[in-house]
């Protein structure tokens, strides 16, 4: 799944133009557009991070949202209980998410296919309940973060820019994985663990590294999300809906292109905003229909990619 947007310089130019255009956009738009786009960047980053482990690694981490929740709570506790600044909260989020991925990775990578998917689902459920029972984190009542300073306009622009910056970091990480040593290791890995090992790839280390990068990015956007909404509760930040949304975006956008997930995120988030506006009380169902339609009408995107990347040689439960 080599990224196929032409040569690296051309890719860099395209991305640079898009990034500059997005960076100057807040000067010409209002709070609503900025907030919606910030959401697109957030979900897009989630999808890019998920793609690292699910697309490149071939491990469908259905419960990757656990890092989003951990990141949100890490920054929540850091800011609300320890009165640390936002940047320290972000750092705590990245550290905690990475640490958890590195700690559980060796255990979880003994699983494959949807056993791995279910394992991560279980991890998310267990962590969500632990957090719910943590008095420090506010328990089931949720946790209120300090309010960001500024007017609604400047706050919207601030989060727009922060999410855009993280998106750029995520894209850079994707290119780094794709073009670098890790990318070659992943391609060898998809030919089978035995093949990769015979080529001198430390398979476990490769997988754990991929998941750690994915977790760090996911934790970071969780932290920013928490600060932007100023109130978090476990069902919200450990919601599997976010993971599913990211998978739909991955399937729609394809993994072979760098900007594909971003375009897909734009359409999916647009659809979410529209349904919430026009189908009050039916928005969940309408979104369900959109998900169903995406899978039924894009079988090529879904099938070609998923079959080749996930399950062609990976149907065994465990080694």
């Amino acid at each position: 799944m080599r990224i196929s947007s032409g040569s690296l310089p051309r890719l860099a130019i395209v991305c640079g133009v898009v990034a500059v255009a997005l960076a100057v956009l807040p000067r010409f738009t209002g709070v609503f557009v900025q907030a919606t786009l910030a959401d697109v960047f957030m979900v897009g980053t989630f999808a890019i991070a998920l793609n690292l482990i699910a697309g490149y690694g071939g491990y469908p981490a259905f419960g990757n949202v656990v890092f989003f929740g951990l990141g949100a709570y890490a920054t929540g506790v850091a800011q609300a209980n320890l009165h640390l600044p936002f940047a320290a909260g972000c750092l705590a989020a990245v550290l905690l998410s990475t640490l958890v991925a590195v700690a559980v990775g060796p255990l979880f990578f003994r699983l494959r296919g949807h056993y791995f998917a279910i394992g991560t689902l279980g991890l998310n459920g267990a962590v969500a309940q632990l957090v719910t029972n943590l008095p420090l984190a506010g328990g089931a009542k949720g946790l209120s973060l300090p309010l960001p300073a500024g007017t609604p306009g400047t706050i919207a622009t601030f989060f727009y820019e922060v999410f855009l910056a993280v998106l750029v970091v995520a894209l850079a990480a994707a290119v780094w994985v794709d073009r670098g040593r890790l990318g070659y290791a992943c391609r060898a890995l998809r030919a089978g663990d035995d093949v990769a090992q015979s080529l001198g790839v430390d398979t476990l280390r490769t997988k754990v590294t991929l998941w750690a990068v994915s977790a760090a990015l996911t934790g970071l956007i969780g932290a920013i999300y928490a600060y932007s909404v100023t109130y978090i509760e476990p069902p919200d930040v450990f919601s599997l809906g976010l993971s599913v949304k990211a998978f739909v975006i991955m399937l729609l956008g394809g993994t072979a292109s760098l900007l594909g997930p971003l375009v897909a995120a734009f359409f999916v988030e647009g659809a979410v905003a529209l349904t919430q506006h026009y189908f009050l009380n039916y928005d969940v169902g309408v979104l369900g229909l959109i998900v169903i339609a995406a899978v039924v009408f894009f079988p090529r995107g879904a099938s070609a990619f998923v079959r080749d990347r996930f399950f062609a040689r990976r149907s065994g439960a465990a080694r």
Binding site: P60, F62, L107, F108, R110, L111, G113, H114, Y115, A117, I118, G119, L121, G122, L123, G125, A126, Q129, L130, T132, N133, L240, V244, F247, V248, L251, N281, Y282, V284, G285, V286, L287, G288, L289, I290, V291, I292, A294, V295, V296, P299, A302, S303, V306, R307, F310, F311, S315, G316, A317, A318
Partner: protein, 289 residues
């Protein structure tokens, strides 16, 4: 004594878990579909029973066949006209598809039946068998028996009937089954119908013994997952053993650390996935796990 009561409660609820998980397991085992809408199908079954009981005054246990038939029809149609279309795509496409389906069903249930928490009271709700300090409510015992019987009926069906054998043959090798004159698309629709019918039965049992609302479906789906992983994919004795293991673990945990019973279920899931991914009674039977 409290511990013994917790274990007995766990075994009783474990029977219900077994019937709930068996429907989930057969769909997963035969078609490699993880049906995330299973919980919502159970809830629909619960509403069938609830409506019949409150409006027509029928005993909840007598509504079980109605719930089973209604859900079979729904499941058959869903598989035949929707899920079969993406079956060739991948396991993951079907996972996302059933998630979308689940959202639609949850929303429909909320609009049709409202978010109110429902429950049924029967004249014998309070009746119980007492052995010493041990208390076994009759309705729970009845639910336990129905659950175990329906699970065993499925096993007999798969082992002894032509259709059951055709289902197993299709899960082994769809192409070879086709050569023997079996239409896999129809078999898949029947299989999903059976899974949904078991969900309907489980739903009727939920309505008979506890309260429910459209949003508890997710928790039921998760438990079905856990039971299948504990017991082993496609195994009937596994579903019964796994259901009881989960039921007892949850009840023991609830009697010691009430707020951690879900975490205990997930911990059990992860331990089994890592240490024994084929479960207690798992075998390479239905599909390539």
């Amino acid at each position: 004594m409290q511990t013994v009561q917790a274990i007995v409660n766990g075994i009783l609820v474990g029977g219900f878990y077994a019937s709930m998980a068996m429907g989930f397991s057969i769909v997963w085992g035969v078609m490699n579909i993880i049906d995330l809408a299973h919980g919502s199908l159970i809830i629909i079954g619960a509403y069938v029973t609830y409506e019949l009981c409150t409006h027509l005054g029928v005993d909840p246990l007598l509504t079980i066949p109605v719930a089973a038939v209604a859900l079979f029809a729904l499941g058959y149609v869903l598989q035949r006209y929707l899920i079969n279309r993406v079956l060739q795509a991948s396991v993951f496409a079907t996972l996302i598809l059933t998630f979308g389906l689940d959202r639609v069903l949850v929303n429909a249930n909320l609009r049709i039946f409202s978010a109110d928490i429902r429950g049924i009271t029967v004249p014998y709700t309070a009746a119980a068998l007492t052995i010493g300090d041990l208390r076994i409510p009759l309705i729970r015992l009845a639910v336990f028996c129905v659950a175990i019987l329906s699970t065993l009926a499925l096993w007999l069906f798969l082992e002894r009937t032509r259709l059951g054998i055709a289902i197993k043959a299709t899960s082994f090798d769809p192409e070879a089954a086709r050569l023997s004159g079996i239409d896999p698309a129809r078999i898949y629709a029947v299989t999903f119908g059976i899974g949904a019918a078991l969900a309907g039965i489980a739903g009727a049992l939920v309505a008979a013994v506890s309260t429910f609302s459209p949003v508890i479906g997710d928790g039921l789906t998760t438990r079905a997952f856990v039971v299948v992983v504990l017991g082993g994919l496609g195994s009937v004795p596994g579903a019964i053993a796994g259901g009881m293991l989960l039921g007892v673990t949850e009840n023991l945990m609830a009697s010691v650390f009430p707020s951690f019973s879900d975490a205990a279920a997930f911990a059990l899931l992860i331990v089994f996935l890592v240490a024994r991914p084929r479960g207690l009674f798992g075998r390479r039977f239905y599909a390539d796990i």
